[in-house]
């Protein structure tokens, strides 16, 4: 492994920032160097949010990435915006509960996860980000389930602890229910 970059993008409220943070934290627990860079520009409610995570065995130079290795597109605007810049042979993970169309790129590996539907079945649609995170882990092999679990345990403390189990369950379901397109 050398250096991998991941862009997680979606509507504000879909939890893409936390998804990216857990990816970064899990990779850190796996012994990797990481950076997490949020988009923090002015956005309207319902607009898009994204973050970039770089994972590497070596010290990381630029946290800014022009051609990511992985794009997690949680909605249509994110898919349109980021599939263009995705690296050739890169991974495009689509939330197919929301994205009802096919990507245009033919030179990338496309995976689908019905993140909203799976989260609904588990019992809380809010964990759709962790469903997608599980799918990402499976598709990319960049982070391990054990490290994700550890990252979640460290993040969901205090009042948030009651949500720990359902988030872990969501990650597991995402790992199982991912489909190769």
């Amino acid at each position: 492994m050398s250096t991998y970059s991941v862009v997680a993008a979606g509507f504000g409220g879909q939890g893409v920032m936390l998804m990216g943070k857990i990816i970064a934290e899990a990779a850190m627990h796996d012994g990797k160097k990481v950076t997490w860079l949020p988009s923090y520009g002015p956005e309207m409610r319902g607009g898009t949010a994204n973050c970039t995570v770089v994972i590497s065995d070596e010290d990381i130079g630029s946290p800014v990435v022009d051609t990511p290795d992985v794009v997690i597109a949680m909605n249509i605007p994110s898919m349109i915006k980021f599939e263009e810049v995705l690296k050739k042979d890169g991974i495009l993970l689509i939330n197919s509960s929301v994205v009802d169309r096919q990507p245009t790129r033919k030179d990338v590996k496309v995976f689908k996860i019905k993140a909203n539907d799976v989260a609904d079945e588990i019992g809380n649609v809010k964990v759709l980000n962790m469903v997608a995170l599980g799918a990402f882990a499976k598709a990319s092999g960049l982070i391990t389930f054990g490290s994700i679990k550890k990252a979640l345990e460290e993040t969901m403390t205090g009042k948030k602890k009651v949500f720990l189990d359902i988030n872990i369950k969501a990650v597991q379901e995402g790992m199982e229910k991912i489909e190769k397109a």
Binding site: K33, V34, W36, L37, Y40, P42, G61, V64, V65, D66
Partner: protein, 350 residues
């Protein structure tokens, strides 16, 4: 143990560990998390957090607090830093130590909240009035920002000077794993024989930037200048990467420098050896080393998230011995590694 920390919050924690217990500030993006962190954390360690009504009030509170000899700091972003300039000049005149963190955003005016490096002139060449200097430190990673906080407070106390940490929105907002130094005892700092601690059992002391007699004021100014000279002699810091035998050297600081580190790898694949010269102290600027490096290459390309501010110092350092082209974007637009690589190729005619 390494922890994943946001830049703004990491700087706040590092300041507390460096013995800072007094924070005055007014929130402004992209560093409001620093202010917020201090508001939560300082009361836990017996410190005082005070949200001032403005940046003008902030800097004057710092003047007062610094007079007592305690370690004191604030943090802000570009427009807020501008508002502090009058007080900064007064503090410099009063030879008061303090640490300022400017997490730079796009300007001028209200600008935007994205990362920029367009406050270089303001930080290194004055900003406030009068013949004063501030030590300016430019971290390029969150870990380095953490490490520099200790140094910032130590230098401020040692020279009785203001120290600015010049960061940018990216360093303020991004997260990286960091390791913090141990907590220092805030009372375990060198005795300040000038501090206003109540004149019980000793003659009264005075802190002022003012003298009505020009010859007396000149004496004060010459004392400041002597201090600045010492700092220039002793405190220059920089990092060099790959400069030996390089086809071209890129001069960059802060976030821009870490982007150049990626460009070094990209260029290597195309058979171009790129060196990096990264000033860590923007004042005092490493003119001397840059001048030596100018003997070893034809071209020193300056890359900044501004339209060419550090460029002027690079040219002073190079002093005509090498070509000094420039590439930069500003106003909150961060050049991508590919763009910088293109600029490198253009600079060497490839």
């Amino acid at each position: 143990m390494k922890m994943l920390f946001k830049g703004s919050e990491a700087i706040a924690e590092a300041a507390i560990r460096a013995g800072c217990r007094l924070y005055f500030g007014y929130p402004i993006t992209p560093q409001s998390e620093l202010t917020e962190y201090m508001s939560r954390r300082l009361p836990e360690v017996g410190g005082t957090f005070l949200q001032a009504e403005s940046e003008v009030a902030t800097v004057n509170m710092m003047y007062g607090a610094s007079c007592t000899g305690k370690r004191v700091m604030t943090s802000t972003s570009s427009p807020g830093f501008s508002l502090m300039m009058e007080g900064i000049s007064y503090m410099a005149g009063g030879e008061l130590p303090a640490v300022f963190v400017n997490v730079v955003r796009g300007g001028p005016g209200l600008g935007d909240i994205q990362p920029a490096q367009s406050d270089y002139f303001q930080a290194t060449k004055g900003g406030g009035h009068g013949d004063y200097r501030m030590i300016v430190l430019a971290p390029h990673t969150i870990q380095e920002a953490v490490d520099l906080m200790n140094l910032a407070f130590d230098l401020a106390d040692k020279y009785r000077m203001l120290v600015t940490i010049l960061a940018d929105g990216m360093l303020g907002q991004m997260m990286e794993p960091v390791e913090f130094p141990p907590m220092r005892d805030p009372n375990d700092v060198p005795e300040k024989d000038w501090a206003l601690t109540g004149a019980k059992g000793r003659p009264p002391r005075k802190v002022t930037s003012f003298h009505i007699d020009p010859y007396e004021l000149e004496k004060m100014n010459l004392r400041y200048q002597a201090t600045y000279k010492k700092v220039e002699e002793n405190e220059v810091r920089y990092e060099e990467l790959n400069t030996d035998g390089a086809d071209i050297i890129v001069a960059a600081y802060g976030t821009m420098a870490r982007i150049v580190k990626t460009v070094i790898h990209m260029a290597e694949k195309e058979g171009i050896k790129v060196g990096l010269f990264r000033p860590i102290t923007l004042w005092p600027f490493p003119y001397k080393r840059l001048n030596e490096l100018a003997d070893t290459v034809d071209t020193i390309l300056t890359v900044e998230m501004s339209y060419g501010q550090m460029l002027e110092d690079v040219r002073l350092g190079v002093n005509g011995k090498a070509k000094t082209p420039f590439y930069g974007r500003s106003a909150g637009v961060v050049p991508t590694p590919t763009e910088v690589l293109d600029a490198v190729k253009k600079a060497i005619g490839r």
